[in-house]
């Protein structure tokens, strides 16, 4: 479904990704593991079209999408739930969710999708008319995920969904992510809690200093010595 071939990308003169190749098949759950600053977020932002690769190729459903911008990728069905929630703080939760369905393919069915999504997030339903900026961090993360679902994406990408949340909230967020993962959506996820993520993922890539150094089945990575030492602290 998604394929990156020899992608280089970065900000301004600074190249962060060096020759990154990875692929995600339809229905698969794939995770990218790496230290802070290894380039995980950069990878997701590059796929989402927020950054344009300086070299290499990205294809989605067989079509070249290397140079597409962010909104064009959304139109194709690629949605990123960004790190740090990134809600529209001075809009109501309902408006935030409706913005999620801005994509043409989702706009026509937005009422229906809203019902489906609210089924998944009963807590969000209670907050529909509040300003998003007034919610707690955990609630905001739930809204951010719900907003991502509103686009009815073909590929859903999570960037650090548990970052900056209290441990109790983290487990709730994981519960939601797990439910989405099991629902059959194709998922690419970056998450600092490597141990948990590797248990729900099918496959994983290890990113170090902007390069893929390891790729394997999630179970194999859990048993891999290097991964255990560097990322599981074992």
């Amino acid at each position: 479904m998604l394929r990156l071939e020899g992608v280089h990308a970065g900000y301004g003169a600074t190249t962060i990704l060096h020759d990154v190749s990875l692929d995600v098949a339809a229905g698969e759950v794939v995770t990218i593991i790496g230290a802070n600053g290894a380039g995980k977020t950069t990878t997701l932002r590059t796929i989402a079209g927020l950054l344009t690769p300086t070299a290499g190729r990205i294809t989605f459903e067989g079509q070249d999408v290397t140079r597409l911008s962010g909104h064009e990728m959304v139109e194709r069905g690629v949605t990123l739930i960004p790190e740090g929630r990134q809600l529209f703080p001075e809009m109501s939760v309902r408006e935030n969710l409706l913005m999620g369905a801005y994509r043409r393919a989702a706009r026509a069915r937005q009422a229906e999708t809203l019902e489906e999504v609210l089924e998944l997030f009963p807590r969000v339903r209670e907050r529909l008319d509040q300003n998003a900026g007034s919610l707690s961090g955990g609630e905001q993360q739930m809204v951010a995920i719900a907003r991502g679902m509103m686009a009815r994406p073909k590929l859903l990408m999570f960037d650090e969904p548990s970052l900056g949340l209290a441990p109790i909230i983290v487990s709730q967020v994981f519960a939601v992510v797990d439910r989405i993962v099991r629902s059959g959506v194709t998922v690419l996820i970056v998450e600092q809690n490597v141990f948990h993520t590797l248990q729900v993922a099918d496959r994983g890539y290890v990113l170090e200093n902007g390069e893929i150094v390891l790729r394997d089945e999630a179970k194999a990575l859990l048993a891999n010595d290097h991964v255990r030492r560097a990322y599981l602290g074992i």
Binding site: A13, T14, I16, A35, N36, A230, G233
Partner: protein
């Protein structure tokens, strides 16, 4: 020190005070300056003299503007205020029988007072709002000049008293006027050069690039800006006095003019904003357009030169934002070699670890609320000389907030932070500059390089804290850079570094301050395993040189092997404190921060 990477072993020339211009650029500059005098004398035509005098005047005004607008980045569109003050002071005093040679200094003194008075409140404003405020002040001065007609002559304006000769700065013939204009230009350029390449200049640019990082390096950013605006305003007034005597007639709309103020800024931008000689270049190229349009086409072409100005300005902004000087610099630059930025840091020879000494920093009962959120709740701890204190806790626990409060960047709602000075007395510093003065240095979690300065200049900003002399600061900066493994990148602009490079630069800058207490905010985040090992050695060597350290860190390997003591913060409270081995076994800490998996791994 023998393990330094090969590039660093090449002996370097002794550091110079100011960077020498490349020979061809120096020759070009001399040529331009010589032409400003030689051409009018050779042609000997009144109009040509007029054009060249005007070039000198505007180049001087623009150079003076650039000290604030370029070096400091405060984009004033109200410099007409100072020009007008100089003009009116000169003419009014001349009317009272006082020579403009004294009048210009009276004008300058008044301009300095006005500059400080209007700039001090305006420095809180950023970008366009600062510009708008300067425009508003300009309008106020224009209206005041119209209103107080007993002094200024109001809308009818003032004629200069017709007393000829050097004493009155008024001449029938042109050459003496050119001599004065050229002299003023040279003086202004000299001042700008001096300001730029002394400590003040580095401080100004650092303040422009990252105000908070400059403050952390001990720069009193308000003070240096006020000095800059005073110098700039004073020079502008002096040139204004001469120009008034040259024009022989002044009135409020022409003196306190927005168009003139914009032109002054525009020449600097087109020539190369923030460079010493850019404004000169801009004026040399653009002033003739105005004067020729005025002289040859007369009223028919009213607006033509302004249209050209506007278009040139837009094109320059779009296609060469660094101006003509940017172009000149690009011509002369050799392509920089870009290798991997991984020269190993060189820890100083490990001395025996000195014993942990007396308390140097004391924090008591810090409270901080943001809105309804209690981000810091009764935090208190002490740091001893030569000790490393680890500060850990989940994201959002308030670690960085605590750092901000113990370095002067944030005022606590209540509580005290005390630092012991080298003479043994205790102080309660308030501003970042106070903290820096007592030897507290910090890094920022989100790196804050001075992007447009080279690595060497970045570190020099720190070194200036203890070495006012540019040569000394440069020597200290180089030494620090080599020690931090940044030696090969001394002349690279900071924006070109990798994340790891930024992190090192951040530490290098604060180390160059030779701090007594070092606050490190996640300096190991995002660097690889080998570099973590090196960074740990480096920090130990820093500690062994007698520096006390507080480190916020997520890399537990580093926390465990570095810290003498660890404090765990959660939701703004200290939930545990003690030796690292004890803290990681504390069930409360495991629950809040480490997670069960960590404990299994340790066991």
């Amino acid at each position: 020190m023998s393990t330094a990477s090969p590039t660093t072993t090449v002996p370097r020339a002794a550091p110079a005070g100011a960077p020498a211009l490349p020979r061809w650029q120096a020759a070009g500059l001399a040529l331009v300056l010589a032409a400003l005098v030689a051409v009018p004398i050779a042609v000997d035509n009144a109009f040509v003299y007029h054009v060249f005098i005007t070039i000198c005047v505007f180049a001087a005004l623009s150079t003076a503007w650039n000290i604030v607008g370029g070096f400091t980045g405060q984009l004033s569109l109200g410099h007409g205020i100072f020009y007008g003050i100089g003009a009116y002071a000169g003419v009014i005093l001349a009317g009272l029988g006082i020579t403009p040679w004294l009048g210009m200094f009276a004008g300058a003194a008044l301009a300095v007072i006005v500059a400080v008075a209007i700039s001090y409140p305006c420095f809180r404003l950023r970008g366009p709002f600062f510009s708008l405020a300067t425009i508003a002040f300009l309008e106020v001065f224009r209206v005041l000049a119209l209103h107080f007609r007993e002094v200024t002559g109001g809308a009818t304006g003032l004629m200069i008293p017709l007393k000829l000769g050097w004493e009155w700065m008024v001449f029938r013939e042109r050459p003496p006027q050119l001599a004065i204009a050229f002299g003023l230009l040279l003086a202004t350029l000299a001042v700008a050069w001096f300001v730029r390449w002394r400590r003040l200049g580095y401080y100004l640019v650092a303040t422009r690039e990252r105000e908070s990082a400059a403050q952390a390096a001990g720069v009193d950013t308000v003070r240096v800006r006020l000095v800059a605006v005073s110098v700039s305003g004073g020079l502008t007034a002096i040139v204004g006095t001469f120009h008034a005597m040259y024009l022989t007639y002044i009135e409020p709309a022409a003196m306190f003019s927005l168009t003139l103020s914009i032109q002054i800024a525009m020449f600097a931008l087109i020539g190369g904003i923030g460079t010493v000689f850019g404004p000169l270049l801009g004026a040399v190229l653009l002033v003739p357009i105005t004067e020729l349009a005025r002289g040859w086409l007369g009223a028919k072409a009213l607006g033509l030169h302004g249209l050209v100005y506007g278009l040139v300005l837009m094109l320059v902004v779009l296609f060469m934002p660094n101006g003509l000087m940017g172009l000149v610099a690009r011509l002369g630059r050799r392509p920089a070699s870009r290798g991997a930025q991984a020269a190993p840091a060189v820890p100083a020879a490990a001395a025996a670890r000195p014993a942990v000494g007396a308390e140097i920093l004391r924090v008591e009962g810090l409270q901080k609320h943001f809105g309804g959120l209690h981000v810091t709740n009764d935090v208190g701890f002490t740091l001893r000389e030569g000790e490393i204190l680890g500060l850990i806790g989940p994201n959002g626990a308030g670690k960085t907030t605590v750092f901000n409060m113990i370095s002067g960047f944030l005022r606590a709602d209540s509580g005290r932070v005390s630092v012991r000075a080298p003479d043994g007395t205790w102080h309660q510093p308030v501003s970042p500059a106070d903290f820096a003065g007592l030897g507290v240095g910090r890094t920022f979690q989100i790196v804050q390089p001075f992007a447009a300065m080279t690595v060497e200049e970045n570190i020099m900003v720190g070194a200036f804290h203890r070495h006012a002399d540019v040569r000394e600061a440069r020597a200290v900066a180089r030494e620090t850079a080599h020690r931090m493994g940044l030696g090969p990148w001394l002349d690279v602009e900071a924006r070109g570094l990798t994340i790891g490079g930024f992190k090192r630069l951040e530490v290098a800058r604060v180390m160059a301050m030779q701090p007594r207490v070092l606050l490190l905010d996640e300096v190991m985040a995002g660097i690889n395993q080998t570099d973590v090992r090196r960074a740990i050695d480096l920090m130990l060597s820093i500690r062994d040189s007698g520096v006390s350290i507080i480190a916020i860190e997520h890399v537990m390997q580093a926390v465990m092997s570095l810290s003498d003591r660890v404090i765990v913060l959660n939701s703004g409270r200290i939930i545990a404190e003690g030796r690292p081995q004890e803290v990681v076994r504390d069930p409360v800490v495991v629950e809040a921060y480490l997670g069960k998996e960590f404990v299994h791994a340790q066991a």
